[in-house]
């Protein structure tokens, strides 16, 4: 694996190996001394063209726990609005001597260009690009699901995950559909038709606009997890749905809907949450909610990704 740009690029074996490595990383994080020497002497640049404190801190923590040096490069807004091109920025990174670049960008495909345009020759990790992909988020979601549903081993074959919300604009949804399907899970997307992309029928999932029907499950298997997507408030005024109240009523996860889930089913959310819109306070704070655990798992998963890209594919070497 040279870069991590999209979960669609991962084979089942790649994905399971990353999750296994993340598991090994997680074991080290319960120690008093959490730091590992694996990436000592290497420089990782967090190149963030849009704000994301949570993701940047998570990558920074992951890199530092592997003993890498971290440079945080915040380039808020698009590179074009700054007057400097992505290519110029990339060449600056090359001059600095970066060993890997973690890039967050509002434009879909920007990490792909960075990896393949010949501007730099270091590994590129996509930390979220436009409406395209957020592969480490999907990996941490899968890691969380695997721990609860499959004992922290293997894949997610036979599990059923319902993903609810603004699929159209969601890189989290795209990443999860690709990864969960690769891991053998059944995925159902639920959204109002205005928030489902034209072409979604070609994805490896089922699609519904009826949340209650989707949560009931069917003969193919009951629901094992509900993943709520954040609704961006600006969508409210763009006519994608009539009102916040109607959205919450039709697509929000409230206590009543949580109560109808099977006892083992989990509630996931990538955060930050809009309480009262896509998720009620009761659902967000219920024992089924893995929101806080997802944040912690994010560090382990990102450690696994950086380790795999920069130190080799072998879980355990210098880790356990």
């Amino acid at each position: 694996m040279r870069h991590l740009l999209s979960t669609a690029d991962l084979s089942r074996a790649d994905a399971v190996a990353l999750l296994d490595t993340a598991e090994a990383m997680a074991q080290t994080q319960s120690r008093t001394i959490k730091k590992l020497p694996a990436l000592r002497g290497l420089t990782i640049v967090n190149l963030f063209f849009e704000d994301s404190t949570r993701t940047r801190i998570s990558f920074e923590a992951a890199a530092k726990r592997l003993s890498a040096d971290v440079i945080n490069f915040s380039a808020k807004g698009s590179s074009v609005s700054k007057g400097e091109s992505l290519k110029d920025t990339a060449q600056t990174l090359r001059a600095i001597g970066a060993d890997a670049v973690v890039v967050r960008h509002p434009a879909s495909g920007a990490p792909h260009r960075l990896a393949h345009a010949g501007w730099i020759d270091t590994p590129v990790v996509n930390a979220g690009d436009g409406m395209h992909q957020h592969p480490t988020q999907a990996l941490l979601d899968a890691f969380t699901l695997r721990r609860h549903l499959s004992g922290g081993e293997g894949d997610l074959a036979g599990r059923h995950v319902v993903v609810v919300g603004d699929v159209l604009h969601s890189r989290v949804a795209r990443s999860n559909v690709d990864l969960l399907a690769t891991l053998g899970a059944r995925v159902t997307l639920v959204a109002p038709p205005t928030l489902l992309p034209i072409g979604v029928g070609a994805w490896r999932c089922e699609v519904s606009s009826d949340l209650d029907a989707a949560l009931v499950g069917d003969v193919q298997g009951e629901v094992d997890a509900v993943m709520m997507l954040r609704v961006q408030r600006e969508r409210m005024t763009s006519g994608f749905f009539p009102s916040e109240r109607e959205y919450a009523r039709r697509y929000g996860l409230d206590a009543a809907r949580v109560d109808r889930l099977p006892p083992h089913a989990l509630v996931l959310h990538p955060g930050p949450m809009n309480r009262g819109l896509e998720i009620s306070a009761e659902a967000a704070d219920s024992p089924r909610s893995t929101v806080v655990e997802q944040v912690a798992n994010g560090v382990s998963v990102r450690m696994a990704v950086l380790y795999t890209l920069l130190a080799g594919d072998l879980a355990g070497e210098g880790v356990a």
């Binding site: 698009s78 509002p106 434009a107 495909g109 345009a117 409406m131 992309p197 994805w203």
Partner: protein, 441 residues
């Protein structure tokens, strides 16, 4: 004055014959040509070459005035000559916009002075392409540039009242309104064709219906007021159907397809390489098939290049930041050969129809798109259909490098282009105006 004796060419791919060209005119064909040729006439060995009337492009961006870093009238028309064109229509979205008699005359004169191809400026429909009020269409029509094609290309004349007025007003001087069909509200932030690929790779979609809705509206407006409508760079199967319906109804509408919409699909966007970013976007394989079929059955009248040169920095970046557009003058004929001639849908006479006769007729370019016959203007192109070449933008004549066909092997090669009897391309090499005989040492 010496001329050219073109030996053993195949006009429209037919029987081999000789042509004698003197003083800008075809003066003899067949045995008469050789008999009348003198020692001063340059001999051109055209054995195996197909002769077509010089190509006419209805849709070229020459970028001058304003963006001479990407193309000038001189470099763009030199590229046109290299592609076999003897006349091009220069789009109005320059800086300043070609919305006055002064600007269109400037562009026309630059073309005349460069001498590579006749430049027919396209006048803007609305002042500054702003879509708010009509430009002085009549002044442009009666200027030295004699504008007959009007377009806000790059932008759609969205306001139906303005579009109606433009279609009505241009009737006074036999003009045609060339529409860039793009419903603006349906294409806010659009980056590529809306469909399976855009959904997967997360680029905002440009739905087919945004093109089709405007075309449907405009053909009905053209019918209502009796104006001449030309639909630019048609790209969807639905658009082809609408044009087919409109023509069956007798509406005065013509349509163009670009080479890239005849060959490339939205699958190219998976590379995120902005060289494939174009407006309207590359569509699906089904759309490409429909456009080819529409061209084959005459629903689509012409092939136009939409040659859109861009600076390196405007393409060597992330997709969303990149400019729309791709070059096309020097690859157009090869693409048409590949997708239409080599699969049997077209004869060379059909190529002449869609790339010369009909665009000249639509643009009212009287000296071009003429038959290859004695007494006709000697605007000609000689093509080697057996040649194959790998497209290398670094050696093209255009000042820009954004060819979507870079690295692709295409058939056919322009060997000679004659503008009023003067070789602008001689044996594959551009011949500057001052050394125009094309004689080889």
């Amino acid at each position: 004055m010496s001329g050219h004796l073109i030996r053993s060419a195949s006009p429209l791919g037919g029987e081999r014959t000789d042509l004698l060209v003197r003083d800008g005119v075809i003066v003899a064909l067949g045995a008469d040509a050789a008999a009348q040729a003198g020692s001063g006439d340059v001999r051109v060995d055209a054995d195996g070459l197909v002769a077509l009337p010089g190509l006419v492009d209805l849709h070229t961006h020459l970028r001058e005035p304003g963006r001479e870093d990407t193309e000038t009238v001189e470099s763009g028309t030199r590229a046109a000559a290299a592609g076999g064109f003897t006349a091009v229509h220069a789009m109005a979205n320059t800086a300043p916009v070609a919305d006055t008699a002064g600007v269109v005359e400037q562009v026309w004169r630059l073309g005349r002075d460069a001498g590579w191809a006749d430049v027919r400026p396209v006048g803007a429909v609305t002042v500054g392409l702003a879509g708010e009020r009509l430009a002085e269409l009549g002044a442009m029509a009666t200027s030295a540039a004699a504008v007959r094609v009007f377009s806000d290309d790059g932008k759609c004349v969205w306001d139906p009242v303005l579009m109606r007025r433009a279609l009505e007003y241009t009737r006074a001087f036999d003009g045609v309104v060339a529409q860039h069909a793009q419903e603006p509200r349906l294409t806010v932030d659009a980056q590529m064709h809306e469909g399976v690929v855009s959904a997967e790779i997360g680029l905002t979609g440009w739905p087919a219906v945004a093109e089709e809705a405007i075309i449907a509206r405009d053909v009905l407006l053209a019918e209502h007021v009796g104006g001449r409508l030309h639909v630019q760079h048609l790209s969807t199967a639905g658009s082809v159907e609408i044009i087919r319906w409109a023509k069956a109804r007798g509406i005065a509408v013509t349509a163009e397809a670009t080479p890239h919409h005849l060959l490339l699909t939205d699958e190219t966007a998976r590379t995120y390489d902005p060289v494939y970013k174009v407006n309207p976007p590359l569509r699906t394989a089904e759309d490409v098939e429909a456009v080819r079929a529409g061209l084959a059955d005459g629903t689509i009248d012409v092939v136009a290049t939409d040659h859109a040169p861009h600076a390196v920095q405007d393409k060597d970046c992330e997709w969303a930041a990149a400019a729309f557009g791709m070059t096309g003058l020097e690859t157009c004929l090869s693409v048409v050969q590949q997708v239409m001639v080599e699969d049997g849908a077209f004869t060379w006479a059909d190529v002449a129809r869609v790339l010369s006769h009909t665009p000249a007729r639509i643009g009212r370019v009287t000296d071009h798109g003429r038959p290859i016959a004695v007494g006709e203007p000697a605007n000609l192109v000689l093509i080697d259909p057996a040649a194959r070449r790998t497209v290398d933008p670094r050696v093209q004549e255009t000042a820009s490098r954004n060819s979507p066909f870079a690295g692709r092997e295409l058939p056919g090669q322009v060997r000679w282009t004659f503008l009023r009897g003067r070789a602008t391309i001689a044996d594959g090499v551009a011949v500057p105006h001052a050394d125009a005989t094309g004689a080889r040492a």
